[in-house]
Amino acid sequence: MTNASWKTFCVAIATIMLAACQQQPAPQPPTAGPAPATSAAASTPAARAAEKQRMTNLGIEHKTARALYDHLKQEAQGGKPLSWQTVPDWTGVWTREASPFFWDPDQESPTALPTAKLTPEFSKRLMDKLDKVNRGIEFDPLSNCEPAGMPRWMVEPFLREWVVTPQETYLVNEMQNEMRRVYTDGRDHPSAEDAYPLWEGDSIGFWDGNKLVIHTSQMRAGQYQRIQPYYTEQVETVEIWQKADADTMAVDIWAFDPPALAEPWYTKQSYKRLSNDDKSLRIRYWDCGENQNNTVTKTDTGSSDFTNFNFTKKDGK
């Protein structure tokens, strides 16, 4: 697709999106019956689409992420704490299955638009960003050696580990040593008066059999990925983690963010356990600043450039 045709495409899609976003999301029919609030593996595209819609509706039925989390906890009759005898085997080295450039694995290509239903303001912000990227103007805050932070954490590539204990679960991404701590000991979030934005947010959870249900709040504003929408400090997520098979971790996740999302954004994420027979895959400490050749700064035009090569000079090339 040429630059010109891409711009035409973007303008057309933006017009459609803005029109759609200016409508209030239509009330959806309630979920039928006591279907389990977790997305089982559907075998056909039509079945997967229907299951995705059911899970989307489940999010829409609840005004807030906390309401959805409380609903899931009620459905699980409060959940059952783990003991050391019932801790599931989530060991291994894992990585995300889908392209790291898309929040929703169902996004078909980099030139397709994200599947989120955005508010008009955040739809415009996304289109402005994509237009700049298409013109070669892009700067990722990660270039400042910042963490990705949650919820972007979900889609970053590289190696991951899951460490389960009865009281807490640690969800680790090697990039920037980002570790989420999920408290499953019954504690609640800090009070609203004491809450402040955190890179990974504050996560509480409960176990519903072999499923870990998580509510995360107190996140910082950011972007789902470089060519994905922005989110605000009001973003909150609900996740259901469970092993679909020995080598697949399936995660249902809803993002709630009223300023940015016209309705909760449900997606199904998947992580695969990597073969590691020779034990060569090991997560090391990640020092973003250890090599000066990786120094990237923001240019006057708002784009990115290497500024500190040790093997050549910019002026002398």
Partner: protein, 128 residues
């Protein structure tokens, strides 16, 4: 300079030219490829990106050091590229997307060592 190939590619939208890890790929020209032959000066096996520095002899007898950027150690390990594979002095032919501003640096696409073994960093993202 032993510049073997510099070609212009087709017209893909820039938005498709994303790179993994901590920076945009806009400083590289994904519409061009450059291939040089030289000897490894240093393999900086680091996060968030590794850099392979290659000394390339120019036609006038001078030497230019080229830098080829790849992903960090864990991804290179998954691609079967170990630090010891490309020790200083190793002969190599390497291809990448060059910098737009003409500095001798590129995004590493593929490389072939003197003994014929190939090194493709992107293979490190394959799930296996």
């Amino acid at each position: 300079m032993r510049l073997i190939l510099a070609t212009a590619l087709g017209g893909l939208a820039l938005v498709s030219a994303q790179s993994f890890a901590h920076h945009s790929a806009v400083m590289f020209d994904d519409q061009k490829e450059i291939t040089v032959k030289g000897t490894v000066k240093e393999f900086q096996y680091t996060n968030p990106h590794s850099w392979l520095l290659v000394d390339v002899k120019n036609t006038d007898g001078t030497v230019t050091t080229w830098g080829f950027e790849a992903e960090g150690p864990s991804t290179l390990t998954r691609a079967g590229i170990r630090k010891s594979d490309l020790s200083p002095g190793t002969e190599i032919t390497i291809t990448g997307h060059p910098m737009k501003d003409g500095r001798p640096a590129a995004a590493w696409m593929k490389a072939t060592r003197g003994d014929g073994k190939q090194f493709n960093p992107a293979a490190g993202f394959a799930i296996k």
